[in-house]
Each structure stands twice: as C-alpha cells, then as structure tokens.
Amino acid sequence: MRASEALDEVIGRERGWLDLTTMRLFTHPGFASIFSEFLVQVYHEMHTATALMEAARTRSAALATSCPVAARLVSYWDEHILEEAGHDEWLADDMRTLGMDVDAALSTPPSPTVAEIMGTLHFWVTHTHPVAAVGYFYFAERNVANVETIDHMASAAGVPPTALKTFYRHASIDITHGRELEELVDSLPLTTTHQDLLALSTSTIIRQLGRRTESLLLRAEQSARTDTSRSSTS
C-alpha cells in the first residue's frame, strides 16, 4: 500500500464528525450571524500555518544530515511557504470588503481551539519530527471547498461572492497543492516510526478540527436562539 493510501485510510476513518459538523455549520440559520467570527478563525489558522511551515522547515534542516525524510522536506517547506505567502492578507482584504474592522478583529487572541490545533502541530514538529505537520496540510489541501460550496456559503452568510475571493482562489490552487502533497508523501522514504507519527498526528488534528468546528456550531446555535428570543419579545 502506498503511503498516501494509508493516510487516506486514516483520514477516512476519522473525518466523520468533522464532515458532519462542517455541513451543519454551513446550513445553520445562525451561520450568518457568526460569519465574521468564522472568518477571523480562518485567518488565524492561515496566518499560523505559515509560522508552522517555517518551524517545520527549520527543524527539517536541523535533522537533514541524519534523516533522509527531513532532508526531502526542506525543499517542500521552502516551496510551500512561498506558495502560501500572503494568503492570510487575501482574507484580511476580503474581511475589509465586508466592512469588518480587521485591525480590531485580529487584535483579539485566536480561540483556544485554534491554539490547540496549531500548538499540537508545533509541539510535534519541534519535539518529534517535522513529518508530523505533513498530515495537516495533506488533509486541508485535499479537502478544499469547491465553487458550488462557496456559492452556498456566500448565500447562507448573506454576503456577496466578490467578498470571498480567498476561498474562490483556493478552490482552484489547492487542487494542485493536493496533488503535490500526494506525490510528496509517496516519495518520502518513510520508516514505520515516521508512518506511525504521520497517522497519529493526522488523526489527532482531524479530531481537533472537529472540536473547533463544533465550537463554532455552538456559537451559531446560541446566536440563533438569541435572535429568536429577541424577535419574540419585540
């Protein structure tokens, strides 16, 4: 079995709750009222992903002389850091288009769920092996929103599609990135230890992503209840 097939098995097993809470969030009546909060969380994940890749690149370079997997990853991180550069600024521009006060929105600390995801990845990169971060990007870039989903998201959030340029751009570019990640995973001379770490990090991150999405869903439910309560008392 190819390494990417083994990783796909892990993802297929773990993704159920994340998938259903994602769909529930996008169809929830309270989604529009928490859309700004949703975008802020996406911004923090995009922004921190760059810092994660830089940490992974540094660690890969440090291990490169003794580990062929780390040596191969150095060039991957170099390329991917460039590919992802500025994407958080695209989203900040979209947020400005929507009339958000971006400086104020981004001055608040990222949520604990975002910190949990990125903190876990940083821990593994720093204290085990940088291949631990590959599973996160493999999953994220191979499960991007397509144009139809983003059209729905804009409609559900009550925002113009022109304000979601970041998501529309990713709908096309991440298809290429996803293919590159599959080729990367299959080209790495992974030992059993690497494979086990990759499976562990990927399954853990998908569960954490599910908890992050569930917390947003709870916020949407709270918001919808508040709106209902207000309309019944007015």
């Binding site: 297929g12 992802e84 990007f137 989903t149 729905h152």
Partner: protein
Amino acid sequence: MDDIQYGDNVQAFVDAGMLSADARSSLSADQLEKINAWDTETVQRLVDLYRETGPIPSGLWI
C-alpha cells in the same frame, strides 16, 4: 456481526454517501447522540447541500 444501533440520522448520512462505514464506526457515543438529536429538516438540509455541492470541504481553512 454488526449489531450496533447507530440511529436513523446517522443511517441517512451513510445512505447519502456522506459518511463511510469506517467513519461511522469511529463516531463516539456522544457524537452519535448529538447527530441523532438533529431534527429531520436539519438532516435533509445537509443531505441536499451534499447532493448539490459534492465533497465536504472540511479542509478549507488554509
């Protein structure tokens, strides 16, 4: 023999192709309870969106 009762909502997602048998087996008791507490209209909305838009975009965050 698989004699676990997953509930009607979970089965609806499996039937719609949104949830694989492996993914279903990995859901916790708490998650199963939450999914099965969703009303019929909610479940139908999710299934309709899936049929309209295709693969679930759980990785759209970076």
